[in-house]
Amino acid sequence: MPEDLAIRIEDLSISYKVSLEAKRTLKNAVMRASLKQKERTRTIEAVKHLTLDVPHGSVLGIVGSNGAGKSTLMRCVAGILSPTEGRVTVNGKISTLLALGVGFNPALSGRDNIILGGLASGLNMDEISNKTDEIAEFAALPDGFIDLPVRTYSSGMYGRLSFAVAVSMTPDILLLDEALSAGDAAFKEKSFERMRQLCAEARTIVIVSHALATVTDLCDSAIWMHKGQMLSKGKPEAIVDEYLKFLNVGSLPSSYEDM
């Protein structure tokens, strides 16, 4: 892999095998075996033959309608899902902020969750205790909330905390999936600021967002995914334009029909 690349995706396909059984249980498995039936499954190809290079220090935006495979792609780059075909090579320390937020335990305080989140993503205790205050400060939760159980947070406060944890890891590669949707305008401005700073330090960011303004504001290139395929790739403005046209017209431009 060339040195200037942060992520290289080669002919990547990812499929989910979904069981059509109501519930996958030992009981059902035994029943099926005794009746000599096979489990009914369906294969969903979430990502199909995708090839893409992301150089260090670039900000890539991914747009596409629901179910296009964006989150699946992000999980694969993070090493959470493994490819069905093809290969993903990643160079650098990854930090993720994916759709559902960190594995926060709702019964514990924000501060405790920062520690757990940090440890899960591979920091050691010293690094975290140095950072807890910094994270708390960045998340800027209203008075005292940082020491209250996370279950008492609003979804925006939850989002703020998750974002603060993810950026504090000083990752080489930051993967954000719908990360900024819950924050208010002030926090959005602050997080944009932080992401620009990360880019200036030549760190790589991949953003999945349905807020197209985020993509045009922050990214220096973008791709459009549709039903698992990458339809086009280029300047964010151009991609967003194309995508918007598609959303308005409701059908793919004729040039894509043979894909």
Partner: protein
Amino acid sequence: MPVNENFVPKIQVFEPHRASLPPLGPYLKEFWTRRVFATELARFSDKAEYLDSRLGKVWLVLNPLLLGLIYYLVVEIIRPGGGLPGLTRLDHLLIGLFTFYFAQNCVTAGAQSITLGGRLILNQAFPRALLPLSCAIQAFQQFLWTIPVYIFVLIGGKLAYPTTEVPGWTWNFLWIPFIVICTGLTGFGLALIFATLNVYFRDTNKLLTYITRIWMYLSPVLWLPSSLRGHMKILLWVNPLGPVLNATSRVWVSGVSLNKSTIVGCIFWALASILMGGYYFISRERDFAIRI
């Protein structure tokens, strides 16, 4: 393109896999560097569990003690007369029960750790075996809480019945750490197997409640290892907890040293559980994210 000054090249390649092991070296290294995550997770889960109830820690001690007394009553009633004096049997039952619960807690909590790991598993890449490990650590800490209970009953019993055969201090107690480690390893290894099964078959957990119950009756907890006759003795060897519970009874209650076959049995089941569980779990764990 300039790379930031703190950049440390760290190349990771993700490729398709079949049901086979990932490179074990990097896996174990990653596992080791993140072990603090498992201990802290155990500490925090404890905290989350007992945050609400101030009595939480008290129950931790009271629960096994009460269960021990209940079982003692049951055993006393159905006992066919004669045999060992009461205090010895009570001691055997308590420490056997506590040791058995240590292993059982490893298995039952560990079995659910993956399916309950939800967001953590979907959003973070880390060696998944850390989750059952954290359950094992929690089970170990709960086990430690029961030791003072045992010692308290022992001292009380010795004061009440000065003629009892239950030993005071002996150097053979130095075998205890060995027994506890073997119990923990066996429990952790079995937890890895059931955690994996539970991902594929969601009713494994329900089944497990029956398995653990039968398992306890087949283990030398309610009965003494010495009460087995003839080929029934095989129960002490085919049961993964047989050797450690036998050893527990010998060392804690009788204060004697371990014989070679018991030591070999303990080590055998600890290694066998870890190796089988580790293989099954690690070869499947890349599947977990798409199945939970």
